[in-house]
């Protein structure tokens, strides 16, 4: 009896937790579909309103959100890919190849510490650097910076995933005549793929959502990303809730769907490696 009560209790608590998590997202969705006068109505209109798509039209038709969306996609995918391409070999090098005494650990720690660098310190010099390179206001600047942003994370995560793989496996491959590179491609990558997926997802989300660096390094819609576009709806006199929420919905939906699909990998990937330290 006690068992069933606690069982039901657990479900109720979990359910309310879920409600709190998702209600604001639902509200965002409704705001994007309501006329202005409905948005501020009191008592609030949770369900009884006539939906309108005018805000989506405003955002993507009249305003530049189509371009922002494109930039966000471009920057997020490119930086993730490059970070993986650079980070996986680096992680492999640190875990599998022989390094003098504590060097690998020290390098690893230094790499990780970059993740903790407050962006405030770096934004002005980065701005100047990009300006001197002529890359200001171009997606390339953001991609480079996001790679730097994500590399520590990739290297660190991949290190732990690679450590999970018994060294005998790739050693066996090399004994059979494979090069280190071959061992990486044929043994490590397939075995670490859940971990790689988890890492890639995190990188994508971080790049997709990033705000401060994009704020400083972009100047026109050639390079502005979705978060910047959304924040720019907070004008001096009014907040264009309609456009903002429409863009917000578009910014969130892909991430949500994507994550739901790979949610299993996320947990597995994390439990596989990172947690073990």
């Amino acid at each position: 009896m006690k068992r069933t009560v606690t069982k039901w209790g657990s479900y109720i608590i979990a359910g309310s937790g879920l409600l709190i998590s998702l209600a604001p997202l639902y509200w965002l969705l409704t705001i994007s579909l309501k006329t202005e006068i409905d948005q501020f109505a009191s008592p609030p209109l949770w369900f009884h309103f006539t939906p309108t798509f005018v805000h989506f039209q405003e955002a993507f038709g009249v305003n530049e959100f189509g371009k922002y969306l494109f930039n966000s996609c471009l920057v997020a995918t490119s930086s993730t890919l490059i970070a993986l391409v650079l980070g996986i070999p680096a992680a492999y090098s640190l875990t599998r190849l022989k390094w003098p005494k504590n060097q690998a650990e020290k390098i690893g720690f230094w790499i990780l510490s970059n993740r903790f660098l407050p962006p405030i310190i770096t934004i002005v010099p980065l701005f100047l650097m990009m300006r001197n390179l002529g890359l200001l206001d171009s997606p390339v600047a953001l991609i480079i910076v996001y790679v730097g942003f994500n590399l520590p994370f990739v290297i660190w995560m991949m290190q732990t995933f690679i450590r999970e793989i018994p060294p005998e496996l790739d050693e066996a491959a090399r004994v059979d005549g494979d090069s280190y590179f071959g061992a990486l491609i044929r043994i490590i990558l397939p075995l670490a793929s859940p971990g790689i997926a988890a890492t890639a997802i995190f990188c994508l989300i971080i790049a997709w959502n990033e705000f401060l660096l994009a704020l400083v390094l972009t100047q026109t819609e050639s390079s502005m990303t979705l978060p910047i576009g959304i924040a720019s709806q907070v004008t001096q006199y009014e907040i264009r809730w309609g456009i903002m929420s429409a863009a917000g919905v578009v910014a969130t939906v892909p991430v949500l769907i994507f994550s739901l699909f790979v949610q299993k990998y996320l947990v597995r990937g994390l439990s596989m490696g990172a947690v073990k330290g």
Binding site: I37, L86, V140, T220, E221, S222, S223, T235, Y237, E238
Partner: protein
Amino acid sequence: MSLGLIALCFLTLEGCTKTSGETGLTVAVNAGVEGQALKEAAKDWEKKTGVKMHVVELPYSNLFEKELLDLKSKTGAYDVIMLDDPWFPQYATGGQLNSLDNLYKGQGLEGPESDFIKSTLDVCRQPWATGSYYALPYVGNSQLFFYRKDLFDKYSLKAPKTWTEVLQGAKKIGSAEKMYGYVMRAAAGNAVVADFMPLLWAFGADIFSPDKKPALNSPEAVSALKFMLALGEVTPPGYTGYNADEVSAHLLQSTAVMSINWPAWIGPMDDVSKSKIVGKIGFTQIPSEKNKGQAELGAWLVAIPSGSKNVAKAFEFIRWATSPTQMKVAAFRGNPPTRTSVFDDRDLIQKFRAFPAQKESLASARPRPRTPLWNEIENVFGIYLSKANSKTMDPETALNEANKEITAIISRNL
């Protein structure tokens, strides 16, 4: 191998960067009503001349940061910039903006026409009102007093002429109609300072005394702040975080009776899809008290950064955009003009019933102190005003502390 991949990525990406044409103009505008008109004007200009116009819309604070960064590091990202007049002193230093005097002379002209309302032209000059021109006024923005004319008529009250009348009316109508008698912006920073300046001035005080020393701890200033707190009693609680949208929402939803507001909100007041009070709002001048009421000037100017590579073309554009015919077009789109002739235009007066009130307000409007340190000063002033309004500090202490900080800011930057 990885290096090769990086190189490949760079090459492909380099191809799909920068779309802004070298032969076009990039215009930075404020995301919002004021920027809207210039945005449309840019589109018209492109149709008329074929020059590619590239408009970048940024929210208020970002606009400032991006423009200043561009000006200081001369990146040449923008050819024309829109700026709020308090930013002007900071922008116009160090040769960051292109002087318009020479450009005018090159066209055989003296300078901007006298058709422009003087108060708006004065803020385009460095030093104020006497120096060279570095910008042209585009949006004739100055505060108006919004009040529910229908309710005032109902209680046989005349439009409030003094702040005392405002408070009386607020209390009377508010309690009778179960509404808030007053509503104001008091979010820390630009919001609270903008709503406080008219009070400060009307009570006979100012941030700086005539000999340029900080004078916020004067007895008049304290009375002004005390009065603001008295108004706070009939204002919705939570106003200490209010910005313009919350204030207007109260008016639009008919939960507040009066407020200081800006012309950008005149349109929505009569817009059926946004307002519950269509046709019921009256517009009058900022109330007086000890001194005649003066609206705070908030004109938006257009200027040309010295880093721009298209100065001549940019000048052509802004002259065209600020010409009488174009200002009339912009006015029809909801942009408050800066020319007397446009304000007097019959067609416009017919469409915009508040035009005469706006013109009067603009002509007598007062700009905020012209100092490059305004941002820092406004920030600190805003903090203490906010504290006073949240009742975490009494008015005298708040003003004293603010004065101290402002003095420190000035001496730090000498």
